[in-house]
Symmetry: C2
C-alpha cells in the first residue's frame, strides 16, 4: 500500500512509523517542507531557559535516522501545494530545485501542523520579534539572551506556550512581562485559578497584564518598546505566542471538509470526509470526549495518539479515537497547574446542573520534607453525580491528580464511585487520606448538605455580599475581621445573632467547616464556609 | 448516642472525629492504653533517618488537642480487657490507678490496632533489639544512632517497614543488612520486581539476605551478633520488622467473629457479626475489591477510609466500603516502587487466564533534566481484557502510575478502554506518549500478536531455554552474544536460519520489538522479544 504523509513532526512521524510496523511491505513517504522532522516542539521553551542545554536534544530523529529506524521514506524541503483526492495525487515543490512533482497515493495522511499567528501590528517584522514554533525560533532567542542583548522581554499571549516561554526567560534572568488580551491568563482554567496564577507569576517577578492589547511595536531597527492599549513598555524582545493557525491553506478546493478555523474535520477513525484521506495532529479537528463537540487539540500528546489511531485504521484494525478532555499541565516558576475535563463555565454551557468543590489539602504527609499544598477543584453534575472536570494547582505533582481525573472521567465515574479508593500511600509520596480522596470527600459532604459554602468563583462574583466575615483560622488571619476559635465556643459567638449571615473564613477551608459544624449545633442557621479559605481567596473585610 | 472507640491512632481518631461531625450531640469516647493518640505511624522510619527532624512532628494531635478539635473524649492509659456485647459494656483498667471500670455503649468501634510480632528467638530481649511501631521505638533507635552506638544494623524482615527502616538507617550512614526468610524481599511484588529491588538495594550498599532465618541474637548484655541459618553477622542493633499481629486477644469469648490470624471479620459497612459493633484499622479484616476474598490491609490509608465509612454507617448514612487492592508504594535509596491489584501469581491463583506486559519507558520527556525510566508491568485477563494489576519501579513518580491503575481497576476498566487516554503532558511532567499509555500499547500489541515475547518472569523460569540470544541493542550490550543492528538487515541475519529460535535482547525491549517486526517480514518464524531487555533482566549467554 502506497501511503503519503504530509508533515513530519509528531503526528506524521508517529503515523508513518506505526504504518511501517503494521505492514513492512507498505510504501510510506513523508513529505515535509522543513529540513527537520520529529523535533521536540514542546521542549522549545525549555531550550530557551537552558533547561535543555544542547540543540541536539531537541531533535528526536533526523530524516536519515528516522528512515533507517522505520523504513519510511522522508522527503524534506518538499512543500505540498495541492491535493487531488479524485486522482489520488499530491503536488509538491522541491524547494531546492523549485521543481514541481506529482506523487500518487493509496492512502493519504495529512499532518501538516500549524503555524504561529502573526498579528497585523505595526512593527511586527522588526528584528527582535520572536515566535516559538520551530527549533530555530528557540535557538535564535537563546543566542540573543546569551549574547546579553535581551535583558527585558514581553511575551504576547498568556496561554500555555506564553507562560512556558515567560518561565524560561525568567530562569535566564530576563525581566519578563506577559501581555494578554483576555480577562485572565490561561483562560482554559476557571477564573479563580487564573487569578491565582497571575498572582503567583507577579510574586515571582513576571508581570501579567491582562485585558491588554498590543497596538504597535516600536524601535529603530530593533524592537525597543511595545505599545498597548493601556501602557507602553520598554523591551529588548517581543515573543509572539498568541496562538497558532492550521497550515491547511493548500487544501482549499480539495473537497476536504474543514472547520471555520481551518482545521480538518475527522471522524473517530481520524478519517476526513474523503475516503482514504486521514488527518492527524495540529491540523486536525477532533472532538471532546464528554460533549462530542468538535475540538481543536493542538498538543504533542494528542498528536501521538491520533497518529497511532490513524495508522491502525489504515492498516485495517478498526480503532476508535476516544476524543480529548482538554487536559493540560503547566509549570510556573513557583507552582504547577493542571486541568482536565469541563471547566465550570464549560459545564454550565453544556447544560449540566453543576456543583463544584475547592479543597486546599496537603500533597504529602505534612511532616515529610517538601510537603506543600494542592488546591483541587472538582466539577460534577448534580443529577448524574458524574465527575466532569478537575483543576489543580500546587508546588508538587499536580499531574498525578490530573491523570487520576482523566482516568475517572474517561470511564464516566460518579463521585460516589471515586470515594475511598485504595490509592498509593507512603509519606514521601502522598497523604494517608489521598489528596484526591480528600477533595472527593469535600464534594460528597457538600452534595449531602453537610457543608454549606461559597465557592471561590461565587465569592469573586459577589455571593458573599451581606455576609459578615468571621475569621475562624487557628490564629487571626483576616485583617479587620472578628476572630473566633471554634474550640472555645460555648453557646454562641458574642455579637453574632443565630440568623446572622456569617462567612466563615480560615486558611484553607477545613477549620471553617469544623466551625460551621459547631455553629449549626448551637442553632446558627446562616453560616457559609468560604471554600479554600485565604489560601485560594483574597478576602477583604 | 453513646459511642466507645477502642484505640486512638489512625482509624480510631478518624472514626471518632467523623462521628462527632455527623452529630455533635453524640457522646464519643476513645479508650486507649497508650499515652499518645493520633501519631504518624507511617512516619516512624523517616524519623529514624532524620528526614523528619523533630519528635513533635510525629504527633498529629495530643489527646487534649484532639478533644478540643472534635468534641470526642479521650481516656489514655485505659486498657480495655473485655467486651460484653450483650450487656453492651466494656471493661477497662486505668493503668495509673489499676482500677477496673465498666463503660456502657450504644455503638462500639474497635480500632485497637496491632502489635509487632516478637519471634521466639534466643536473645530477643537483649538491649539493642528494636521494633518500629510506636514513636518511642523510633526515638530510641535514633538516639542510639546519634550517640554513635550503632554503626551496623540488621533489619529482620524485608517487607515495607523493613525496607523503609533500612533505607533510613542507610541515610544515617549505618551499615545495614536485611534478613528475610522468604525467597525474595517484598514478596507482594512479582519475583522479577523483587529481584530487581534486591539488586538495587545491594548497589546502594544495603545487603539483602533472602531465604535466611534468624536463629539467635548473641551478645553479652547488648546485641553483638546475629546468627542465621546461613551465616552470622556482627551488628550493633537488630530491628525486628517481621510483621504485626492484631491486638485482639482481649476479645476472646466476646462472640465477635475473628479470622484465624486474629483480625476481626467485618462486612462492607465495617460492622462485625454483632450488631452495633464495628471494627476498623489494623485490627480489622476487610476484603479484596477484585476477588472478594478476606484481606488484611494494615495500612494508614485503609485505616482512614475504614474509620470514615464506619462513622457514616453508624450515623445512619449507608456507605459501602469498596475493599482494598493491595496498593502500596515504597521508597528505596535509588528507586521507588509501587503495586496495586493482583500480582501475576495472585491472578493465576484466582483463576484468570493471565497476560502480562513489561515495558521500560521514559518517565519524562527524555531531554528534560532528571528524566529517567519507569519499568511498568501490566497484568490483565485474556478473556475479559480487564486490567487486573500493575507494578512499577523507577526513580520518578511511580505513585502516579499506581494511582492511575487504582482508578482504572476500581472502575473495572478493560485494556481497550485505557488506550489513548488524554493524560497530562508537558516536558517537566511526562512524555508525549504517556508512560502508562505506552505500557497499555505494548500490552495491546501483545494481545493482538504483534509482539511475541518472553516476559522477565518467564525468562527467570527458563522459558528462553533453547533460544539463541541475539543482541539487538543500539550498540553491543550483551556479553558473549552475537550483535545485529536491525536497520542494517537486508534479507537475513548471517548464521541464523529462518526457523531458529532467537531471543531478541536490547536495552529496554523496544528495539527488540522493532527487530522482530523486521525479521518477521524477512520470514523469521521463531523470534521472541525479551520484554524489558537488559534494563529488567539479567541476561547470560
Amino acid at each position: 500500500m502506497k501511503i503519503l504523509v504530509i508533515g513530519g513532526v509528531a503526528a506524521g512521524t508517529k503515523a508513518a512509523a506505526k504504518l511501517m510496523r503494521e505492514d513492512r511491505s507498505n510504501d510510506v513517504t513523508i513529505l515535509t517542507k522543513s529540513d527537520d522532522i520529529s523535533y521536540a516542539g514542546c521542549g522549545l521553551p525549555y531550550y530557551v531557559g537552558n533547561v535543555i542545554e544542547n540543540k541536539s536534544q531537541l531533535i528526536v530523529n533526523t530524516p536519515q535516522s528516522f528512515s533507517k529506524l522505520t523504513g519510511a521514506k522522508v522527503l524534506t524541503k518538499t512543500e505540498v501545494t495541492s491535493v487531488d483526492t479524485k486522482a489520488k495525487t499530491v503536488k509538491a515543490i522541491d524547494l531546492t530545485t523549485s521543481q514541481e512533482n506529482t506523487y500518487t497515493y493509496d492512502k493519504l495522511v495529512i499532518a501538516c501542523g500549524a503555524a504561529p499567528v502573526k498579528p497585523l501590528i505595526e512593527g511586527i517584522d522588526k528584528d527582535g520579534v520572536f515566535y516559538m514554533r520551530t527549533p530555530q525560533d528557540a535557538i535564535s532567542l537563546r543566542e540573543r539572551i546569551e549574547s546579553g542583548e535581551i535583558k527585558r522581554a514581553v511575551v504576547v499571549g498568556g496561554g500555555f506556550i506564553g507562560i512556558e516561554v515567560a518561565e524560561n526567560l525568567h530562569k535566564q534572568n530576563v525581566k519578563v512581562s506577559i501581555v494578554e488580551m483576555a480577562d485572565t491568563i490561561l483562560p482554559m482554567f476557571d477564573e479563580e485559578f487564573s487569578l491565582y496564577m497571575e498572582n503567583s507569576l507577579a510574586d515571582s517577578g513576571i508581570m501579567p497584564f491582562t485585558k491588554t492589547q498590543v497596538v504597535e511595536i516600536l524601535g529603530e531597527d530593533k524592537v525597543e518598546k511595545i505599545k498597548t492599549n493601556k501602557r507602553a513598555m520598554k523591551t529588548d524582545a517581543v515573543i509572539m505566542a498568541v496562538g497558532i493557525r492550521p497550515a491547511t491553506k493548500f487544501l482549499e478546493g480539495s473537497g476536504i471538509d474543514m472547520m471555520p478555523n481551518g482545521t480538518i474535520k475527522t471522524d473517530t477513525s481520524m478519517k476526513t470526509n474523503i475516503d482514504d484521506v486521514y488527518a492527524v495532529g495540529d491540523c486536525a479537528c477532533v472532538f471532546n470526549e464528554q460533549t462530542g463537540a468538535p475540538e481543536w487539540s493542538a498538543m504533542g500528546s494528542s498528536a501521538n495518539v491520533e497518529g497511532r489511531i490513524a495508522a491502525k485504521n489504515i492498516s485495517g484494525e478498526k480503532t476508535e479515537y476516544k476524543g480529548v478532555l482538554g487536559t493540560a499541565v503547566v509549570k510556573l516558576p513557583e507552582i504547577n497547574a493542571g486541568r482536565t475535563g469541563l471547566s465550570y463555565n464549560g459545564a454550565v454551557k453544556s447544560g449540566y446542573d453543576v456543583i463544584t468543590a475547592v479543597a486546599a489539602v496537603d500533597d504529602k504527609a505534612h511532616y515529610y520534607p517538601g510537603a506543600d499544598s494542592f488546591i483541587i477543584k472538582l466539577i460534577a453534575d448534580k443529577n448524574s453525580h458524574k465527575l466532569l472536570g478537575v483543576q489543580v494547582m500546587g508546588k508538587g505533582a499536580v499531574d498525578k491528580i490530573i491523570d487520576i481525573a482523566v482516568t475517572a472521567i474517561s470511564l464516566s465515574a460518579t463521585v460516589e464511585q471515586l470515594e475511598g479508593l485504595d490509592f498509593a500511600y507512603a509519606p514521601p509520596f502522598s497523604t494517608a487520606i489521598h489528596p484526591f480522596s480528600h477533595a472527593i470527600n469535600v464534594l460528597l459532604n457538600k452534595m449531602k448538605g453537610d457543608i454549606e459554602s461559597i465557592t471561590p468563583y461565587e465569592y469573586l462574583h459577589g455571593a458573599a455580599e451581606g455576609y459578615r466575615v468571621l475569621d475562624v483560622s487557628k490564629a487571626p488571619n483576616v485583617e479587620g475581621a472578628d476572630f473566633v476559635d471554634f474550640t472555645e465556643i460555648k453557646d454562641a459567638v458574642d455579637g453574632y445573632a443565630k440568623d446572622d449571615k456569617i462567612l466563615l473564613v480560615c486558611n484553607r477551608g477545613r477549620r471553617a467547616y469544623l466551625t460551621q459544624n459547631v455553629l449549626k449545633s448551637k442553632g446558627y442557621t446562616n453560616t457559609r464556609v468560604l471554600e479554600g479559605g485565604t489560601a485560594v481567596n483574597t478576602v477583604e473585610v
